[in-house]
Symmetry: C2
Amino acid sequence: MISFTHSVKARTPGLEDLDSVFKGFADPTRIRILNLLAAGELCVCDLVDILGLPQPAVSRHLAYLRKTKLVRVNRDSNFAHYRLADPNSDVHRNLIACVKSCFTGIRSLDSERRRAVARVKDREKEPCR
Amino acid sequence: MISFTHSVKARTPGLEDLDSVFKGFADPTRIRILNLLAAGELCVCDLVDILGLPQPAVSRHLAYLRKTKLVRVNRDSNFAHYRLADPNSDVHRNLIACVKSCFTGIRSLDSERRRAVARVKDREKEPCR
DNA sequence: GTATAACATTCGGCAACGCGTATATGATTA
DNA sequence: TAATCATATACGCGTTGCCGAATGTTATAC
């Protein structure tokens, strides 16, 4: 018998799913990344630029976020465009809503988010240089 | 000059606070504990009983949850009664709401919560044997 | 005072994490 | 083909997290 682990809708979420989602949020850098992606789709170079962190650090956290299914990638030739994944549980949905509303008020996140919004807007005109 | 680190209201929350809250949720056992405490106040012996884990394990996770300010204790002679702490940020508030609503539907959590509700009710009549 | 009960803390080991540095891969450009 | 750019992964290392077992602490019971 084949188990369709991809058909998210079919499976009732378990404790492991919850745990995984929260672990995705359990790091300040990843919180910053999720906050930036709340602005829209960004490529790794944008994230590196705004976060001011070494590229491998960002890439590793993105890998972690991919594993926990909190983000998804669009690969366009040699650019990787990341965005928030569509939530697959109530908790996930709630946390994404949290990123988009509750996170405002944390000063460092606010200013970064503004930069992300501007960058997303730029990308609409000129796609990643 | 004295810094009133205790007057929570005064300080605008930072990234570290966010991180701390999420780290509190980043473990399946702690998620289970928070889920149980959503039913009301419980003593350690109740938690040990319902979780079916060794007492030191529960105690250590409770210490962690205290450190992250997600729970608070009432010590009554030789019993320790734990309850969810009053949220001190939007994110915290949102996550507690999440515990009370979004967590329903995870089967293992549901059944444990029912046991917790019953236990809380028992305690109203007969306070911790 | 001794025993016991309810919790908390410590220690030792092991796995997971986060980071810096270096390197690999794959597409693009010269 | 060689060089370069964007991104990912590997390696080594210090840190943190979790667990079981043992021990501490405080209060009640005998």
